[in-house]
Symmetry: C2
Subunit: 328 residues, 2 copies
């Protein structure tokens, strides 16, 4: 945690009751910040912040995609002081849900960004940290996905609304923001888990301990980062001095990742060693799933940052953490 220590400064964390948001909240509180979480609790839970209870932590339940909610939240916060920065983690993180009903991504991912930026302009908040995603690259095959590549053709509504949010933040930087950090997240694992392949496998084994049905043929290979490394990278990036307003950075491990098959085997070994693993067909788990990824983190490495855990270590630790979370 290299973030500079400052007191009596307000940070907003949207989606702060969620998986990654709760870790950001924890570290901002550690650094002495006053933290206002805004969360609609559609995926997050107060429970995720229970252990960080502190006079500097305030949790507001509002839906930021609703203009009046957003105004109400800002009015409450502005009574405490001026807002230094916004960490925008609120989003729909359930990709298949957005395939089923695009309104979910429109509302929870795109419109939350839109309404937030609108009020940040009005109240002169100058720093915006945005949780974007490797999903904005779409499926470019084996091409190396570095920050300088295009065209950006996301293949899910999730990725589309993340890219659309990046675009909004970029325009806002020209208009009024002084610093925008766009963090393009990889697959992130850890607790408190609300979704994702590990939780999914553990839940399936909880309802049938003899068989684990895997979507797709299991050959999808992806890199995984542990949430502790992710948050560490975000603070490292945001505390850099740069001479432009926007920094767009892929965050991820250095390795090539692990396959779904390997993850299934590790989960079975931890939860139900005698279970038989049954695979589906094709190398995509669902519409919008990108089967293989060559995600470049060269830029982040050039900043001198590297993860403590590689993909397999991150997954193994997360399996253990999520198993405990689920009562195993």
């Amino acid at each position: 945690m290299v973030y500079s220590e400052v007191n009596n400064i307000i940070s907003i964390v949207t989606g702060g009751c969620g998986f990654i948001g709760s870790h950001i909240v924890k570290d901002l509180l550690k650094s002495g910040r006053i933290v206002f979480v805004i969360d609609n609790l559609s995926l997050g839970s107060f429970f995720n912040l229970e252990r960080y209870e502190n006079n500097n932590l305030h949790i507001l339940q509002f839906d930021l995609s609703d203009r009046q909610h957003c105004i109400n939240a800002f009015n409450i916060i502005l009574e405490y002081g001026s807002i230094h920065d916004v960490w925008h983690l609120a989003a729909n993180s359930n990709i298949p849900a957005g395939v089923e009903n695009p309104d979910v991504d429109l509302k929870d991912t795109f419109l939350t960004t839109y309404e937030l930026l609108r009020l940040m302009k009005q109240y002169d908040v100058k720093t915006f940290h945005f949780a974007s995603s490797s999903a904005i690259y779409g499926d470019l095959g084996t091409v190396k996905l570095h920050e300088g590549i295009g065209p950006l053709l996301p293949i899910s509504n999730y990725g589309a609304m993340k890219l659309a949010s990046e675009a909004q933040a970029s325009a806002a930087a020209e208009s009024f923001l002084e610093r925008v950090n766009i963090f393009r997240f990889p697959n992130v694992v850890g607790t408190p888990a609300t979704h994702g392949v590990i939780l999914d496998f553990i839940n399936k084994l909880a309802s049938d301990s003899h068989e684990l049905h895997v979507l797709g043929d299991g050959t999808q290979q992806k890199a995984y980062l542990h949430v502790s490394d992710l948050v560490d990278a975000m603070f490292a990036i945001s505390s850099r001095k740069i001479d432009v307003k926007i920094d767009v950075v892929n965050i991820g491990p250095v390795d090539d990742g692990v396959t779904v098959r390997w993850i299934a085997e590790q989960v079975v070994a931890r939860i139900s060693p005698d279970a038989k693993i049954m695979y589906g067909k094709g190398n995509k788990g669902w519409v919008g799933d990108v089967p293989r990824f060559n995600y470049s983190t060269d830029r982040l490495q050039s900043y001198g940052w590297s993860p403590k855990l590689n993909s397999s270590e991150a997954v193994l630790r997360a399996i253990d953490e999520i198993a405990i979370q689920q009562g195993y």
Copy 2:
């Protein structure tokens, strides 16, 4: 015009009463298409289509950013037959208006795309032609702006909502569309002019024939394409057989463009030769204006297409056309 001739096939042209949309309508009618224009008439006008009156042309005044309007429009059209493709030209094209009030770009550019794609999925319409913009590249300095470059950091809400719309179309291609053409427009000139530097100068001279005040120092240099060439390129691109679902293509002339100063001088020469030209400061006309552009049209040229007019020829022809439109 190389578009294949087909009869009794319905094309929707959104924004068909506008500057570029009206040219698309004209050429689709020529090819025998049944054309349904959907336009909210915020910038366009029935008058722009008057001369193309024809049994195959139907004009519906609906606001596509409104879900119920969009449903009503589709219900009317579907009584005539099935929809072959959608040419989505509807958008806010007034960049400063979107800087003033971002809701304009949100509604007219982003939400029109969102609601359209939602209904295209529902009614199984498989082909989407989208009018994007060079503004999605933002200000990358002197870097060559080809389709494979990133990160895409638009500096106006206009550009942001165009990029956001590209992203939506891309996700839709994975989900249900069979063909998406993303046309990244350059600065386009011609009639019926509703906005833009030439019309602006002519209007200024109409109210004061002695002085022309130019925003910025006049050194901004941009490439301009005449609308006749633009539409010709769009049909050329959309009629190509490709083995992917999405084609993203920069459209523009081959030359480096002309300066605002040169345009001001030509307009003054045509309208009011004795007027004095007064320049402002800085090389940006407004927030979100990109001062200099190195726009690559290599891909389009590799398709065997080239414009009939270069930037200076296009501007000179447009000055004459717009002067006539404005009564000079």
